[in-house]
Symmetry: C3
């Protein structure tokens, strides 16, 4: 069991918690709806990536551990949500860290399947953000990508960083870790200094 | 032509009717929008299940009868909708019965494709509810899974019942029929006594 | 490089422009959101068609020119959007023309994959409208198919025209061009004379 696998399971667990907490502001919050949302948030991005790349079986169908990590995230949210809401900073850190991990894992997976780097970058970003996009479409929220936060842009920067390092022969772990850190740093700085992506229509 | 096949075609027909009727409360109700909604409601759940399981060709692409059953449902709604609205109870029964059927057929199909029982249960629920979820996303409704009705929970209970009976060696038809009936009974009781799924955030 | 290929690239470019311009009325309009929307609008329909038909690799994954055509459309919108807004008629013509092209290309592709004509017609319409449907779902708009314009109906008429001509042995280019023109003419007449599709519920 590699370190990366453990990180992925923990990232899935963290995504499930933030997915379940997202139902908090909805009108109807039964446990099924919350679980469904947590589930879609966690696996949506990777699922869309794998369907687009025709890479079967899907990760969560092949490896049941992912399903149990999500269920654990839902259960933890259910039992401890009053404490979790007080831990916004910790949650934000885990969420950011999960996003960074998913972006680079997705980029790498696409690259290994033989697609061009431009496509690999798109797949990396999709892996990280599409779960949230589907969740927001279902809950009638304005999708996360239309909100002010520098979110998807950080993922794109990280994916490009990974692809460049890979192109210029950097050792795989070096490329992996440094591009993940880039995503985390950009997002933390963006929230800290309230960066926002330039408007498209001036 | 098996009894189950006939039941599936009738279930599809019933789903198309409830899909087309769902457009009634929308502002714009041209025949194309209504047909499109009926179509997505009927085949959406099974299509998502088959894409996730990489099971091709899709059922409605292989068997054109399904398309004609949907068209018949749309036509019947178009001609008789004033009577249909007065038949809410009958429609509710057909819809419930279609959902029960789709859940168990979906669970069984996934199981036969060799996935684990946990995944088969998820696929069974997806088969029954995802058509409605997509329909609600398109019509800007709050998705059915976030509404009070015990809907998806009934499907999940039925799928688990089927998997347990299958595990303990029950005859296939016995498992099929008793778990379908469980879904129908739960949903009817839920509407009758206004059950609701416990809130996730107390 | 065939004429049809060039037309497809130009159609993708035009779709990207109308996709990016659609973000104009949104609250949050950062460049990432606009690019994401342009991207989904352009490739969404064809992607859904190819996933449903299990036709891999997806066109835009195999042919990177499509990605660059979309990027060019986004860039042109970014730089020239003030002029583009004044060119509503020109844009409408390009959009209509892209829709016509995508419908017939989609119908033909499905037919060549061996599905029945009814399914091919559905795939043709999906190719043309699903990109817009997903875009509208993401931006919380009422999906284009529920709006008054005779839009999807024109595509359906064109697809059926193509299938009939193909059935009765018309030369392929004749069938292609005349059914595309049918779509363009219906849509232009519909906007000019404010046609609308009959209401489903009278």
């Amino acid at each position: 069991m590699s370190i990366q696998y453990i990180l992925e399971i923990v990232g899935t667990f963290a995504f499930a918690i933030s997915g379940a907490l997202a139902v908090k502001d909805q009108k109807h919050q039964d446990w099924f709806g919350a679980s469904f949302t947590a589930f879609i948030s966690s696996i949506g991005g990777g699922t869309i990536r794998d369907i687009l790349l025709d890479s079967y079986p899907l990760v969560w169908i092949r490896d049941i551990t992912i399903i149990y990590a999500i269920m654990a995230g839902i259960l933890v949210t259910f039992v401890f949500y009053k404490y979790l809401i007080g831990l916004r900073r910790t949650l934000f850190f885990f969420d950011t860290w999960g996003i960074a991990l998913f972006t680079i894992v997705g980029t790498e997976k696409a690259l290994n399947l033989g697609v061009r780097p431009e496509i690999a970058a798109i797949m990396g970003v999709f892996s990280a953000v599409m779960g949230g996009v589907i969740r927001d479409m279902m809950t009638n929220e304005i999708p996360i990508i239309y909100r002010k936060e520098v979110y998807a842009t950080a993922c794109l920067a990280g994916a490009c960083c990974y692809l460049l390092l890979d192109r210029f022969g950097a050792e795989r772990n070096v490329a992996f870790i440094s591009s993940s850190i880039l995503i985390i740093v950009i997002r933390i700085l963006a929230v800290r200094y309230q960066w926002s992506v330039p408007r498209f229509f001036r």
